[in-house]
C-alpha cells in the first residue's frame, strides 16, 4: 500500500519535474533561477537552525487563492522551478508571520532587518516574533562609531547600549540579513508570469 503512494506521489513527481533546469525567458537573457552563493547561502543556515520556517513560509499562491498577491508577497505564483537549486527547500506551513518568498524585494533595507531582528518591537510594534539580540554584540566605541552600529530609537531605553558602547551585528546576523535580502521573486518564468 505504502509502495503505491511512494510511487504515485514521490517517484512520479521526481519523474515529472525532477529534471527541471533554469530557463531564460528570452534568448540571451540570464537563465533563472540563479543559485544562491556566499554570505546569503551561509545566512540560510542561520535561518534553518533558528527555525524561522515555523512562522514564515516561502511560497506564493496564485492570485485569487488566498490574499498572497494582494498582500504584496510576490508578483506571481511561485512554481517548482523556483526551488530547483535549493539544497533544502523551506516552503513552510505556517504564516504566524508574513511570507518571505520575496522579502528582499519588499524590504530591501539591511538596517531595517537588523533593527527588526534585534528587537521586532522597534519596527513592528505588537509583533510576536522573538528577539534575536544574541546575534548582536555590544562593544566599546573605538576611534569612531562603527558604520554598521544599530541605531536604536530613544523610545527603547532598555535596548540602548551604555554610553560609550555600541551594538553591532555579529557575522551570523550579517549572513542572515544577506539571506533575507536575497529572497526575491523579481524574475518571470515561462510557466509563471507576473499577475496583473
Amino acid at each position: 500500500m505504502l509502495a503505491f503512494s511512494f510511487t504515485g506521489l514521490i517517484l512520479s513527481s521526481q519523474i515529472q519535474f525532477g529534471d527541471l533546469k533554469p530557463i531564460a525567458l528570452e534568448e540571451g537573457e540570464m537563465p533563472m533561477p540563479q543559485a544562491r552563493v556566499g554570505l546569503a547561502q551561509q545566512g540560510k543556515e542561520i535561518y534553518i537552525d533558528q527555525g524561522c520556517i515555523y512562522c514564515h513560509s516561502q511560497q506564493v499562491r496564485r492570485k485569487g487563492f488566498g490574499a498572497d498577491w494582494e498582500r504584496g508577497w510576490g508578483d506571481r505564483q511561485s512554481v517548482p522551478r523556483d526551488y530547483i537549486l535549493q539544497e533544502r527547500v523551506l516552503l513552510g506551513t505556517s504564516r504566524t508571520g508574513p511570507d518571505l518568498m520575496a522579502i528582499g524585494d519588499r524590504q530591501p533595507s539591511a538596517d531595517w532587518h537588523h533593527l527588526h531582528l534585534f528587537n521586532p518591537q522597534i519596527t513592528s510594534p505588537g509583533s510576536i516574533m522573538p528577539p534575536f539580540r544574541y546575534l548582536y554584540r555590544t562593544q566599546k566605541i573605538g576611534d569612531a562609531p562603527s558604520p554598521n552600529a544599530l541605531n536604536i530609537p530613544d523610545d527603547f531605553p532598555l535596548d540602548q547600549p551604555e554610553p560609550g558602547y555600541e551594538i553591532v551585528p555579529t557575522d551570523r546576523a550579517d549572513q542572515l540579513v544577506e539571506y533575507l535580502l536575497s529572497l526575491k521573486l523579481d524574475y518571470e518564468l515561462p510557466e509563471s508570469r507576473f499577475a496583473e
Binding site: L2, Q14, F17, D49, G51, P80, Y83, R88, T93, P131
Partner: protein, 498 residues
C-alpha cells in the same frame, strides 16, 4: 450476567475460572516486564520534558520576550524540541511499550532474550536525547517532523529495527489460531514506520531530491507518521483494551477488516494536503484531497465498531481508568479525522492553511486521540506487568480531568483563533501589526487565543505531573499496594457491599 458484573469479573485479577489463560498471560507479562517498564518509564519522562518545552514555546508565542535572550530556547528551537521529545520520545516509547506488550499477549509467544529489547530501547532513547540536544544547540534541520540532526538517524533506525523485530518475531511464532485485529494494525505499523523514515531521511538529507519533491517527501512522511504509525498503534490499543475491560467481544469482525484495509489504502496518499496551493503539480494535490476525503470510510467504520462495542456500558467506562481515557481517545479519533478530511477541501483549506487551526488539529490527533489512548493503555498494562495496583485513584482523577479539560480548552482556542486568523489573512486590508494602537491586526486578534492555549498547557502539565507521581509511587512504592483491594477504580463499586 450484567455488563457491570462481567466487567468486574474480567478486571478482577483474582477471578478463578480462566486460570490457564491467566497463567499464560501472566507468564508473558513477566517476560515482558523489564522492557515494558523501561519503555514506559522513558515515555513518561519524555512526556514531562516535552511538556516543559511546550509551555515555554507556548508562552513565547504571546510574550516573545519571555526567556528571549537564550538562543537555545528561541521559539523555533523550543517548539521543535517539544515536537521531537513528544513524537520520538513520548509517543514512540509508549508505542513500543503498549504495542509490543499487546502483541506479545495476543501472540502468546515466549519472549526470550528480552535483554536485547532493553539494550535496543536504551539506544533509541540515547539517540533521541542526542537529537533533542542537537536541536537546541544549532542542529535544527527545519524539516517538519524530522527536526533532529541527520546524524542521529542511523542510530535511531538501527535501534528501531532491533526493537521492531521483536514484534515481528512474536507474530511469526504466535500460537496458532485466529489473528486479532490489533495484531494486523501493530504488524502493519511495525513495517510502515521504518520504510517511511528511511525514505524520508534519504530523499531529504542524504541525497536531497530536487526542489519541491523534497516537500512532497516531507509531507508524505510527516502525515504518514501520524496515520500509519501512531494511528494504527492507538487503534490496536483501543481494539485490545476495550473488549478486555468490558468483557464483551468487538461488535463486528467484518467492520474491523474493512477499517484496517481502507486505512492502509487511503491514508498514505493524504499527506499532500499540507501543500494545497503550493508549488507542486495540482494533480498531486487533488489526489491528496481525494484520499483525505476517502479517509471518512475507515473512520466511520472504526467509530461504529467502537461505539457498538462500548454502548450500554457507560458506567463501566466511567469506573475504569483505562476505559475513560480509551473512550476519550476513540471519540477524539473520529472527530479529529472528520476535521482532517474537511480541512483538506480547497475552500476550507484556503482559510485554515498556515494558521493555528492546523496546530490545533495536530494536537487533536496526537494528543486527544493518540496520547489519551496511550494513557489508557498504560493504566491497563502497568498493573499487570508489576502485579501492583495504582496507588491513588485521586491522582488518576486529577490526571484525567486536567488533561481532558486542558486539551478541550486548547482545541477550542486554536481552532477558533486559527479560523479567525485565517479569515483575516485572506483579507489584505488587515495588517499583521500596526504602529497605531486600536487598529485591528492579525496578531492582536490572535494573542488572546494563544494566551488561553498557555493556560490550557498549565492544566495539562498538572495532569502529567499527577500521572508521573502515581507511576513513580507504583514502581517504587511499598509492596502493600499489591492487589490489596482489587483494581483501582474511579467510582465506588455498586451493589457489592463494598
Amino acid at each position: 450476567m450484567s455488563p457491570l458484573l462481567s466487567f468486574f469479573s474480567k478486571v478482577d485479577p483474582q477471578t478463578k475460572p480462566v486460570v490457564s489463560q491467566k497463567v499464560a498471560l501472566s507468564a508473558i507479562d513477566h517476560q515482558m516486564r523489564t522492557p515494558v517498564l523501561l519503555f514506559t518509564t522513558s515515555a513518561i519522562l519524555w512526556l514531562l520534558i516535552g511538556t516543559a518545552f511546550a509551555i515555554i514555546a507556548s508562552i513565547k508565542l504571546h510574550s516573545p520576550d519571555f526567556l528571549g535572550n537564550f538562543e537555545w530556547l528561541t521559539f523555533g528551537r523550543a517548539r521543535s524540541a517539544h515536537l521531537n521529545a513528544m513524537a520520538y520520545g513520548w509517543a514512540n516509547n509508549a508505542v513500543f511499550a503498549v504495542g509490543l506488550w499487546v502483541m506479545a499477549r495476543l501472540c502468546k509467544a515466549n519472549i526470550r532474550y528480552g535483554t536485547m529489547l532493553v539494550i535496543a530501547g536504551s539506544f533509541w532513547n540515547i539517540g533521541v536525547t542526542i537529537g533533542v540536544i542537537g536541536i537546541l544547540t544549532g542542529g535544527l534541520t527545519s524539516v517538519e517532523w524530522l527536526e533532529m540532526p541527520p546524524y542521529v538517524a542511523p542510530m535511531l533506525a538501527f535501534s528501531y529495527v532491533l526493537i521492531a523485530v521483536w514484534g515481528v518475531l512474536m507474530f511469526r511464532f504466535r500460537e496458532k489460531g485466529h489473528v486479532y485485529v490489533s495484531q494486523w494494525y501493530i504488524l502493519g505499523a511495525l513495517f510502515w514506520f521504518p520504510w517511511l523514515y528511511v525514505i524520508a531521511q534519504t530523499m531529504i538529507f542524504v541525497e536531497p531530491a530536487t526542489g519541491t519533491v523534497q516537500s512532497i517527501t516531507n509531507w508524505w512522511f510527516g502525515h504518514n507518521v501520524l496515520g500509519l504509525w501512531y494511528t494504527p498503534m492507538g487503534l490496536a490499543a483501543i481494539y485490545y483494551m476495550m473488549p478486555k475491560v468490558l468483557g464483551r467481544p468487538i461488535y463486528s469482525y467484518y467492520l474491523s477488516v474493512l477499517g484496517f484495509w481502507s486505512l492502509a489504502l487511503f491514508y498514505n496518499w493524504a499527506g499532500v494536503h499540507h501543500l494545497i496551493g503550493g508549488p507542486i503539480p495540482v494533480w498531486l494535490i487533488s489526489a491528496g484531497i481525494v484520499a483525505s476525503v476517502m479517509m471518512v470510510i475507515p473512520v466511520v467504520v472504526t467509530a461504529i465498531n467502537h461505539h457498538m462495542t462500548a454502548v450500554g456500558n457507560a458506567r463501566a467506562v466511567w469506573c475504569s481508568p483505562t476505559l475513560r481515557f480509551i473512550v476519550f481517545g476513540a471519540m477524539s479519533y473520529t472527530l479529529a479525522s472528520f476535521f482532517g478530511s474537511w480541512m483538506a477541501l480547497r475552500d476550507v483549506n484556503v482559510v485554515t492553511h498556515f494558521t493555528q487551526f492546523t496546530v490545533g488539529h495536530a494536537h487533536h490527533g496526537v494528543y486527544a486521540f493518540f496520547t489519551m489512548t496511550m494513557f489508557g493503555g498504560i493504566y491497563f498494562m502497568v498493573p499487570r506487568i508489576l502485579q501492583r495496583e495504582w496507588p491513588s485513584a485521586n491522582l488518576i482523577r486529577v490526571h484525567f480531568w486536567c488533561v481532558s479539560i486542558g486539551i478541550g480548552m486548547m482545541l477550542v482556542a486554536l481552532h477558533v483563533g486559527g479560523w479567525i486568523q485565517g479569515l483575516q489573512l485572506n483579507n489584505p486590508d488587515i495588517p499583521y501589526t500596526s504602529p497605531e494602537s486600536g487598529v485591528v491586526t492579525i496578531l492582536s486578534a490572535l494573542k488572546p487565543w494563544l494566551f488561553s492555549r498557555s493556560i490550557s498547557g498549565v492544566l495539562i502539565t498538572i495532569g502529567h505531573v499527577a500521572f508521573f507521581i502515581n507511576f513513580i509511587l507504583m514502581v517504587i512504592g511499598p509492596r502493600a499496594v499489591r492487589y490489596k483491594e482489587g483494581p483501582t477504580l474511579l467510582v465506588k463499586k455498586e451493589g457489592e457491599g463494598a
